[in-house]
């Protein structure tokens, strides 16, 4: 370390001390309050220049806004995170959260329609006829349904909502639904901040779930692409289905095909009413914005979303543990492939951080044991990787996946993996290298506007505090070799796992 770096360290720590060691309360106006909330947790030095200046505001209605100013380029990334995912769906209604995400692009009472009051009547008729047709699929009902659809086509202005975004210069307009959350993202020129606030708040307050049944067809195509025709997708669906008996992580986020066939508009509306409420959402804006102006506008636009006092009713979720190995062979015409899922704890259990390091130790880099021994030396694997799924709100799976080399059976490769896990020596040097890799990955992720926004938004929506990122990093930093050895012994055992593999015979 040179002298310059040391003096910078001191000044950074002082700044951290001022900003993060005290709780600030600031009343902006008569309507809302905003709070700069600090944590008693110290931000590591390498992240300080990035994190210094991040502001979090909670509006009166509970809506959270996180802002990070960056003025490299006159653009910003905005993300809206909602704490609703496939874990929150009702039994028999899998896919509803994802379809709701699709509906968010269909417009509002003003955007996407020429005559909303006429449209509303037609949508109600459509719902009734769909219900009728499901019970008694007769030609006459179908004919009436087609007629209603024809009338709706005359009232709709297709694609108006997304077109408005594009004409303002939107890049990367997109969304994603997972087991745990739904996220909407967009990049816009800095001049379009108020436009974004208007559009985002309008679709939260006055959405219209138009073209629902047509969009269901699009989702069926998406399912075919991601699961029905994709060996990895089929294995993943089978893995969750078998590892999570009776647990909400069991259902695929895209939805079971049978559930999709029976989804109705009211199923999406149900989730919207229950979960798209201000205290269950956080907006993150990173880029060339003025925080003060943004906070004022956020109060104006997001502050008008009605507050909901009654807490969200949650249902009890069983533990996801299992006490015996499960092996599922998926009949599918494709080259051999497999997934192994071991149940593991989620954050804030420190063993979650230990297992995060284990991913990196096992598989990251060509000198890692999996790559070096299984791929290069023994040549039993063509590819092998580790990952975690499906979420973090409940205990997820530690996953090992891969493809055996030509001429090697999947069973043989799995047995080699087992032997390696039993015999592998974990050294301090391996652990330190893994810690370094995780740090660099996070730093690199934080360097882009969308990357930073994602880190902040995900943690805030799941854990309620974006600063949890650093608590997790502290757990990573404090992990010892003994911790790693313990989690291998405790979790990576056959009694705790589910295996799915392609069977093309």
């Amino acid at each position: 370390m040179n002298a310059d770096r040391n003096s910078r360290n001191y000044s950074m720590m002082f700044v951290q001390y001022l900003n993060f060691r005290y709780l600030y309360l600031l009343c902006l106006n008569l309507i809302g309050t905003c709070t700069f909330v600090s944590s008693v947790f110290a931000v590591p030095e390498d992240y300080a220049s990035l994190i210094h200046g991040i502001k979090k505001v909670t509006l009166d209605n509970g809506f959270r806004v996180i802002i990070a100013e960056r003025h490299d380029a006159p653009v910003f990334n905005a993300q809206l995170w909602v704490k609703v995912g496939s874990v929150d769906e009702l039994q028999g209604k899998s896919g509803a959260a994802h379809l709701l995400e699709h509906m968010a692009f269909k417009g509002t009472e003003d955007i996407g329609t020429k005559d909303f009051s006429k449209e509303r009547e037609l949508l109600e008729m459509e719902d009734q006829l769909i219900e009728e047709y499901h019970k008694h699929p007769v030609a006459d009902t179908k004919k009436r349904l087609d007629q209603v659809l024809e009338e709706l086509e005359l009232v709709w202005t297709n694609g108006e909502f997304t077109k408005l975004f594009e004409q303002r210069g939107a890049k990367g307009l997109n969304a994603a639904t997972s087991s745990d959350y739904t996220m909407y993202t967009i990049n816009l020129p800095a001049s379009e901040l108020e436009f974004w606030l208007f559009m985002e708040s309008e679709r939260l307050i006055r959405p219209v779930f138009r073209q629902f049944y047509k969009e269901l067809q699009v989702v069926h195509e998406e399912r075919r692409m991601r699961t029905d025709d994709d060996p990895s997708g089929k294995l993943y669906e089978a893995l969750l289905g078998s590892a999570y008996w009776g647990h909400p992580y069991q259902a695929p986020t895209i939805g079971w095909k049978s559930d999709l066939n029976n989804l109705k508009r009211e199923d999406a509306k149900y989730l919207h009413t229950k979960y798209y409420r201000p205290d269950n959402m956080v907006a993150v804006i990173v880029g060339d914005v003025d925080s003060e102006r943004l906070i004022r506008l956020a109060n104006d636009y997001f502050g008008r979303i009605p507050k909901v006092d009654k807490p969200i009713e949650s249902r009890p979720v069983p533990l996801a543990a299992q006490s015996g190995e499960r092996v599922i062979k998926v009949k599918f015409k494709a080259e051999p492939e497999f997934l192994i899922g071991y149940h593991k704890p989620t954050y804030p259990d420190p063993q979650s951080a230990h297992l995060s390091l284990l991913y990196s130790i096992l598989d990251e880099g060509r000198s890692s044991p999996f790559q070096k021994i299984l791929v290069q030396e023994k040549k039993v694997a063509s590819s092998i990787y580790t990952t975690e799924a499906p979420g973090e709100r409940y205990d997820p799976l530690f996953i090992i996946g891969g493809t055996p080399s030509p001429g090697i059976s999947t069973e043989k490769l799995i047995s080699e993996i087992d032997s390696l896990l039993k015999s592998m020596e974990v050294s301090t040097q391996m652990l330190d290298a893994a810690k370094k890799r995780i740090k660099v990955q996070i730093l690199s992720g934080l360097s882009s506007n969308p990357g930073l926004a994602s880190y902040l938004g995900k943690r805030d929506v799941i854990y309620g505090d974006w600063m949890d990122l650093f608590k997790e990093l502290e757990q990573v930093e404090n992990t010892t070799v003994e911790d790693i050895k313990l989690v291998i012994k405790k979790y990576l055992i056959s009694e705790n796992r589910t295996i799915t593999m392609i069977d093309s015979d």
Binding site: A73, N158, G169, S367, V440, S447
Partner: protein, 492 residues
């Protein structure tokens, strides 16, 4: 004692509340109430030096994070040829990473990179090849030294080469598991023909010809500092950076070898048709969703108006929710989750392609829908609303070409290597705006010829089944056997 004037006080309070409520309720009622703004794009600042051997070195200081990264772009790409061995170019690039360097065995190189959270990767595109590195800025000296060795003195270790070939065999066998991969390869096959550099996938047979000698030969001819760019950014000292790079890369000499051959561009006329019907080539496979590619060979980049091309692509179907294809195929008909289309052109070749995937029993409807979109564009051009929207969207989004400071600095190099005009960015907004009153009908007719259009369908449907549902006066269907080496079957 002063009396409190109730009326005056009340008036004041009411006025205060009124004014406050007006300023608090600043919410627009409609989108039109929020004026569209514009932004000022700051010119990227960077330092540049050109070495005597032709290598241009560019540095951009970034001190927000303790990281450093770099990209080396080498002119040529796979368009310069492959010494008669398909895939040799990309394979050689990969071995510059995998096979170690003069002073680092493959294992030592792997260990250094993994222990220090650094990376070194390679890739090859049509117009240029690239090698990249990243890591912590504190390790820059070591990383750039290793990187220079990977570029100037790769070891091409025999054992690693054999391992890479072994892994490629598995990759080749998995192609048949993905409908999109088959459709893309099949489309290139029927469009360019077997033996053309534009249809030249690696096969197990061609893989057997790749060895250390072939890789070294290719390397000598293709990896040259002439016209190359090294672009680095990070939290490092600028002078120190240039000193190190000049020392490490000045010795990089241009030594062209003779094994590279010029690329061929042939238009395939296989299974000739005696009539004007469009040909659909069908690969019958058990997929729930069929992959479709439709189009034909087109113009090279140098023969096109690049601004019209950009606007056409946005309005027609490249990545826009408001494009004709997206609105017709997904929005209106719900036929596909993903659909895209437009002109794909490089310095050496071009094509017009539409790609989508739909369930097998809606393939005929999808083919007809695409055909009707094409006919409409050729007959009527784009609507005023469509063009104005595309112009506005293109110009408003222009700022994103400079969103990433490092990418902004790389743009002039990438523009030059890709064959775009040097002043492409400078003229983009003006040229695009100038098109706002055109309907691009003439341009569309220059680049799309309905009687040249062919289609490739990969899915669970037979030739006869498909033809039954299509207008047989407009289409014929030819079955294509697609294993590692494709061949034509019968036509209906």
């Amino acid at each position: 004692m002063a009396h409190i004037n109730i009326v005056r006080t009340l008036t004041f309070v009411l006025a205060f509340l009124f004014v406050t409520s007006c300023s608090i309720s600043g919410v627009a009622k409609r989108v039109a109430d929020i004026p569209m703004g514009s932004v000022v794009i700051k010119e990227a600042t960077f330092s540049q030096r050109i070495l005597p051997n032709g290598l241009t070195v560019i540095f951009k200081k970034r001190d927000e994070l303790p990281l450093v990264s770099g990209n080396l772009y080498i002119a040529g790409g796979y368009a310069v040829g492959n010494c008669g061995i398909p895939g040799l170019g990309g394979f050689t690039l990969s071995q510059m990473r995998e096979g170690g360097t003069k002073n680092y065995s493959p294992d030592d190189l792997d260990k250094f990179l993994d222990d220090n959270a650094a990376s070194l990767e390679t890739s090859q595109g049509e117009d240029f090849s690239s090698l990249s590195f990243s890591g912590l800025s504190q390790d820059f000296s070591k990383i750039i030294e290793i990187f220079s060795e990977a570029v100037l003195s790769p070891r091409f270790d025999e054992k690693r080469l054999l391992l890479s070939k072994h892994l490629m065999v598995d990759e080749i066998s998995r192609r048949k598991d993905d409908a999109d991969t088959i459709a893309s390869l099949a489309f290139s096959f029927v469009t360019y023909g077997k033996g053309s550099i534009w249809y030249d996938p690696v096969t197990t047979q061609s893989l057997s010809k790749i060895n250390q000698s072939a890789v070294r030969d290719y390397y000598k001819g293709a990896i040259s500092p002439k016209g190359a760019y090294l672009i680095v950014s990070g939290n490092i000292d600028e002078e120190d950076f240039f000193t190190k790079v000049e020392k490490l890369f000045s010795g990089w000499a241009d030594a062209p070898s003779g094994c590279l051959v010029k690329p061929q561009t042939t238009e395939l006329k296989t299974v000739p048709s005696n009539d004007n019907r469009s040909t659909i080539y069908l690969v019958n496979r058990d997929f729930a969703q069929s992959a479709i590619n439709i189009g034909h060979v087109g113009h090279k980049l140098t023969d096109l108006d690049v601004y019209k091309m950009s606007l056409f692509n946005r309005a027609f179907g490249s990545g826009s929710f408001d494009s004709l294809l997206f609105k017709e195929i997904r929005d209106k008909r719900g036929l596909a989750y993903g659909v895209s289309g437009g002109i794909s052109a490089t310095k050496n070749r071009g094509a017009f392609i539409v790609s989508l995937a739909t369930k097998s029993n809606t393939v005929p409807e999808a083919l007809s829908a695409v055909n009707s979109v094409l006919k409409d564009v050729l007959t009527n051009g784009f609507s005023k609303d469509s063009i104005e929207g595309a112009v506005r969207a293109s110009n408003q989004a222009f700022v994103f070409k400079f969103e990433d400071p490092v990418f902004a600095v790389s743009r002039p190099a990438l523009i030059k290597l890709s064959g775009l005009p040097a002043d492409y960015d400078q003229r983009f907004q003006e040229e695009t705006t100038a098109l706002k009153n055109s309907n691009l009908k003439d341009f569309s007719n220059e680049i799309i010829s309905l009687n040249k259009v062919i289609g490739v369908v990969v899915g669970k449907i037979t030739g006869l089944e498909l033809l039954e549902k299509l207008d047989s006066s407009l289409y014929r269907v030819c079955e294509l056997n697609f294993t590692e080496v494709p061949s034509f079957n019968k036509c209906y």
